[in-house]
Amino acid sequence: MRDVATLVVAVAAAVLLQLLLPNRAIWHQGWYSVALVALVALLAVRARHAAVKAAGRARAAVVLLAFGGGAIAFSGVASGLLAPDRQQIVGAPGSDIFVPDLGGSLRFAALHGREPPALVLPGRAPLPIASQRYIGAFLVKQMMRTVVAVEARDAADAHLTITQPTGSAFSSPVLLMQQTQRISGLDLPFDAFSVPAAHRIVKVVLFSAQQVALMSGISGSPRPVVLFAVDDETDRPLPHAIFLANDRQQVAVGGLRLRATIVRYPAVELTAIPSLPGLTVGFGALALGLGLSLSQRGAKTPSRSKS
């Protein structure tokens, strides 16, 4: 009975770690699942052995402990083997992104709105994802990223349309900065947009305050900057069309007046976790088995003291 309890505790501890530290890659590795399955196989063998020897409540306790351990391990293995790795859903402000794993869409609020992203499931009220939530087999949480809102004007200061033919939202003036560009040994967030009316393609590289300090040797308190590189519509660089701009500073470059506003904006991270209903049933069976086992011992103790 003791070895059954030890194995059950080991299985439960391993799967609880999956739940408490969900971001670790180890849970999705094959050897982890094999180890968990091996532990459950050993548990089944030991439990069968113990159940044959026991009778009445003791046997029921062994069966419940083994069943609970199995349910917990199944939840852990299913999450590790079948669920996808960690995903980051990055959406443009005001857009809806369909997420098949959640069976609904994530709705991203306006750029300067204070609402968190919300999960929209058919026929239900939107579910805000402010900090973190358990939804189905996933831990869903909001995380803040840096994005760059750009504004383009012509020489007469008239507003120009910005498009992102290769971005996640074609019609958005907010660059999500999901790619990186290596400059001077630093991996820097990078994005690009088009200004079709002016036949221009603009590449944008973001330098964080720390990176500015590292590259320029500024001590004090440096600020993040944006590098604009303007090409013509065939992607050929224009002469003298590279410019470093501070946050919210309008600069004239490549025949355009460009302004970048650096903003913190939420994205959503999805991490697979062991199924909560599966764990509830598993731990429920464990609790029942433990209760039966303790009551069995309580019933035995007086007779032992008499002998």
């Binding site: 069966v63 199944f74 939840s75 005001g94 098949p100 507003h159 349309t161 697979a272």
Partner: protein
């Protein structure tokens, strides 16, 4: 243990397996772009018209609305806009509202362009480019047709011919008058 116990355990195990596996295979898909919006409520975005007045779809409930996303620099938009004017002239009296949403340009530029083409339907200015994101635009032009209850009936990526526009709004206008 009673004889029925193994069966009860097997049944509970099957329920656990279902509970664990179903959320992992939820799946599903959605058509990308404006075509995937059919059947959804039309997002109510408040923009400004070319005179700077607030403009919203809420004003046009109980009408059939055709919204077209365009810009002056977009060649297919320039070809499509005269057909939209033709449709508006033909069906406005039957309850059709055509709205041209200029994306990302100044009101002066949009107004001058609309006047040069003789457009008489309302022109809205979307300086912050909200419409394209809310209506899942994949390019210019984008057209969305909304019925009298405020539900998106069809969404199109790319220019439409006059006959295609007419065919799309005709059943909705017929329903409006039935």
């Amino acid at each position: 243990m009673r004889r029925s116990a193994p069966w009860i355990l097997a049944a509970i195990a099957a329920i656990v397996a279902t509970l664990v596996l179903v959320p992992l295979f939820r799946g599903g898909s959605r058509v990308a772009g404006p075509a995937g919006l059919a059947g959804q409520r039309a997002p109510l975005i408040v923009l400004r018209d070319d005179e700077g007045r607030p403009a919203s779809l809420a004003r046009y409930r109980s009408k059939v609305v055709l919204m077209n996303l365009w810009a002056t620099w977009c060649p297919p938009c320039r070809e499509e806009l005269p057909d939209l004017q033709r449709l508006y002239a033909a069906d406005a009296s039957r309850g059709l509202v055509v709205i041209g949403v200029d994306q990302g340009e100044s009101a002066q530029r949009a107004r001058a362009f609309a006047q040069s083409l003789g457009l008489h339907f309302p022109i809205w200015i979307d300086a912050q480019q909200d419409f394209g994101r809310a209506y899942d635009a994949l390019g210019f032009p984008t057209t969305v047709i909304i019925d009298s209850t405020g539900t998106i009936v069809r969404g199109y990526d790319g220019a439409l011919t006059f006959d295609q526009m007419r065919a799309a709004v005709a059943p909705l206008l017929a329903r409006l008058h039935s």
